[in-house]
């Protein structure tokens, strides 16, 4: 049985913030869940995927976040408790349904989990999703601990049903990926069947309906504001002349800092968890109680600005400070030491923190080798990239490489360096059109299979229709590898018990109207190079489908083990290191010693026997194992 399905109550589990959200949803009787995977939100849906196999929960990996939210909305308007989870940039994709779903509302509780990524541990930006709560007028909850994540998730469903509005539950990477103790409550059996009760004056947003519904939304938002003022997640803790306002994970840094600084009796906290609509009455009471106020929130000054609005409208001149050169930055994740330093400075407390060891002061070791992530040994993307680079070199052609989001983005690193432009999911196909049109240069765009389904198809139709001329390489490894091998519609190697149809990328590409389509196994170098040569020679739009399974996924699903490994023969003694220099396979390394020729060795532990290298050097040979 899945550990999060335990019937035992009062049990203490050490859970990731994301797992706590899952447990909270199960304790709230969740019946329907959708997602598109994205770090740091992925573990929420991955747990639902496993749980759905042994419970009444319906779960799907949808093709993108807009699809996921609209599917979830359909279930929720029929009165079923539903959750839709995504990363912060996913909410941009789902922003269109979000804004108008807020107008029509829901009948069953709908909780939308959005996971922000301050510091961009694995994202292309660090936008603050709290601004979406303001934009959409929807309620937002922000847990500060795993325990609270579970409780808030339950509360979010109740709130959603009371207000008949979707509720946003916002986490950050740190909350999603830290482990804390969570006490289990009773599971609630889900109501899995819904009923669609027609009401076109509410659910069909023609302008005349939308005008009415916008008014309803603002009325509901005011009710939500009153609820926020009374919510147990919003409290004033302690009292004193110094005020601190926090929400989410920053709460913890503040609490530790106040204790470390020994100023518990001087500080009053306004601790917010139900952060939107902003609890103005509670905020006013707090502002009146303090002489000066420090606002501790990561990223944008959302609460700070809301507090200043309250202060101005009530004629209060209490200093309210958050972001600023002497206080907090709008950049990156915070950490406890930084928060403690700012609190100490702001309230004028003497505090000396310990002195960290400074390795920059070591003259013997001025520079350290970095350790960026790399494409795995045997990754078929490397083979495709190698083939592209070698054909371009052979033809003396310079190309621009728009790329996309997935493992293959790592192709940006040397020695492959096949990534020139990336903004968001699907932008490879579309930006390729613009770049090729205005430069007249050869443009080779790369997109993965899951990203193609997510948002590559409409761009490809656009490229055909508007006669754009570039090469699109679909790097199809049959899984959503980067986020942890989640299924996608194109996969052919499927998890046990899978009974969903596989959708052919080749058939989609052809049906979009692309005439030049070649399917290759990138591990076959000569055929792949030939396909690229033809595409480079052509002056039309062409698509190369480079298809080979992710070896990690294949091993996980099928238990396949390498049948052979490769080694470098003893005749490798000519200072030639072209294999390492051009492939960049992590299983290969150079042996250098003064006075001797540089040779190459293949690490047998790391080699998975893909056979790419043997096609570029005769000195490399197979060895059966």
């Amino acid at each position: 049985m899945h550990p999060l399905l335990t019937e035992e109550t009062g049990k203490k589990l050490l859970l990731l913030g994301n797992e706590a959200i899952v447990r909270g949803a199960l304790e709230a009787g969740l019946a329907f869940a959708t997602t598109y995977p994205g770090t740091p939100s992925s573990e929420i849906a991955d747990n639902f995927f496993q749980i759905a196999a042994e419970s009444d929960l319906y779960f799907e990996y949808s093709t993108n976040e807009k699809v996921a939210l609209e599917t979830a909305a359909g279930a929720a308007v029929c009165g079923v408790r539903t959750m839709c989870s995504m990363k912060h940039v996913g909410l941009n994709v789902a922003a269109d349904p979000l804004m108008t779903l807020a107008y029509v509302g829901v009948r069953g509780g709908l909780v939308i989990v959005v996971a922000d990524d301050p510091s961009m541990f694995s994202s292309q930006n660090e936008q603050d999703s709290r601004i979406y709560a303001g934009l959409s007028n929807l309620p937002m909850l922000e847990p500060r601990s795993a325990e609270e994540a579970k409780e808030m998730t339950k509360e979010a469903f109740d709130l959603s049903e009371k207000l008949e509005l979707p509720v946003l539950l916002r986490t950050t990477t740190r909350l999603s990926h830290y482990r804390g103790i969570v006490t289990t409550g009773a599971l609630r059996s889900p109501k899995t069947n819904g009923d669609f009760q027609k009401d076109s004056s509410r659910f069909v947003t023609v302008p005349s309906v939308a005008r009415v519904r916008h008014k309803v939304l603002l009325e509901q938002a005011e009710k939500a504001r009153e609820m926020a003022c009374r919510s147990s997640f919003n409290t004033i803790v302690g009292s004193g002349p110094w005020g601190i306002v926090t929400s989410g994970m920053a709460n913890n840094y503040v609490e530790d800092a106040v204790r470390d600084l020994g100023i518990e009796d001087k500080v009053g906290f306004l601790r917010l968890g139900f952060t939107h609509p902003f609890p103005e009455d509670l905020a006013e009471k707090f502002i009146r109680s303090a002489e000066k106020i420090l606002v501790v929130e990561e990223l944008e000054p959302v609460m700070e600005n809301a507090l200043k609005v309250v202060a101005q409208s009530k004629g209060l001149a209490t200093p309210i400070v958050g972001k600023g050169p002497e206080t907090f930055s709008r950049l990156y994740e915070y950490e406890p030491g930084k928060v403690r330093d700012v609190i100490a400075r702001f309230f004028g407390i003497d505090y000396t923190s310990c002195t960290p060891i400074d390795i920059k002061k070591n003259p013997e070791q001025a520079r350290l080798p970095m350790r960026p992530p790399n494409l795995c040994a045997g990754c078929p993307h490397r083979s495709t990239y190698y083939a592209v680079n070698s054909v371009l070199k052979e033809k003396g052609v310079e190309a621009v490489f728009p790329t996309d989001i997935g493992c293959y983005t790592l192709g940006v690193l040397p020695p492959l360096q096949v990534a020139d432009f990336l903004i968001c999911m699907g932008s490879s196909v579309t930006s390729a059109a613009g770049i090729s049109k205005v430069t007249g240069k050869k443009v080779i765009a790369f997109i993965g299979d899951s990203t193609f389904f997510h948002s590559g198809i409409t761009g490809l139709i656009n490229a055909v229709h508007n006669k754009h001329k570039f090469i699109l390489v679909v790097l199809d490894n049959g899984t959503t590898a980067m986020t942890g091998h989640q299924p996608n519609p194109g996969m052919e190697i499927t998890p046990p018990g899978w009974n969903k149809p596989s959708i052919s990328i080749e058939a989609i590409v052809r049906s979009c109207g692309v005439e030049q389509v070649t399917v290759v196994n990138p591990v076959n170098l000569s055929k792949t190079k030939e396909a690229i040569r033809q595409a480079v020679a052509s002056d039309e739009l062409s698509v190369i489908l480079a298809k080979a399974p992710c070896p990690l996924y294949e091993r996980r699903m099928l238990g396949t083990k390498p049948k052979r490994k490769f080694f470098v023969g003893p005749e490798c003694n000519t200072d030639c290191t072209e294999c390492v220099d051009t492939l960049g396979c992590p299983a290969m390394y150079k042996n250098t010693s003064p006075g001797a020729e540089t040779t190459v060795t293949i690490d047998e532990q790391l080699c998975i026997g893909c056979g790419m290298c043997i096609q570029i050097c005769k000195k490399i040979r197979p060895k059966k194992i």
Binding site: K12, L14, T39, P40, F121, S122, S145, R174, H177, Y178, R179, G180, I181, N251, N252, Y253, E255, D256, E335, P336, G337, K338, R340, S353, C354, T355, P356, I357, D358, I359, N362, E364, Q365, L368, P369, M370, R371, P372, P373, N374, L375, C376, C407, L410, P414, P415, T577, V580, D581, G584, P586, M588, Y589, K590, T592, T598
Partner: protein
Amino acid sequence: MAEYRAYLTGVGGQGTLLATKILAEAAIHAGHNALASEVHGMAQRGGVVESTVLIGDIRSPIISDGEADVLLGFEPLETYRAMGKCSEDSVVISNDVPVMPFSVTIGKDEYPDVATLFGFIRKRVRQLNTLDARILALKAGAALSTNIVMIGALARSGVLPVPREAFEEIIRTKTKKRFVETNLKAFDLGFGTL
């Protein structure tokens, strides 16, 4: 109640996250409050993996610069790189077996001299213990148990208020059944080295 902060660092594939979970679970088993924090995502592809375990009345899951009581390094270069988390009061326990960064294997960078790195650390912290965790893991039966050897060495150091039995109980109940025997042996070997 006293507070303890443990910082773990290593390379993707070394099992630092399982070690993190075992340490946190063992601390809870020993009756303490514990938190842990991990960095997922890009780290899986051979990058640096850092994590923390906080024991006692602490709410922040992050360790600020200079505030680690103990640093458990699974790889010498990464141990050195993480020294900013330590102060003169810290205890450092490090595996001495390098995992070559990609820039080194392709000949673009040189791997620093391990003895020099350790020499720098030894002069600046309360205590440095180094061990060849890979050899001990192989002796236990699987190179994959390197992480458990490191946990054994951490247990032996006595820096954290978690007794040997708590670790063993968690290894028995929370690691994969078919590895339990190897893992217990790896723990033993790690425990015996210091």
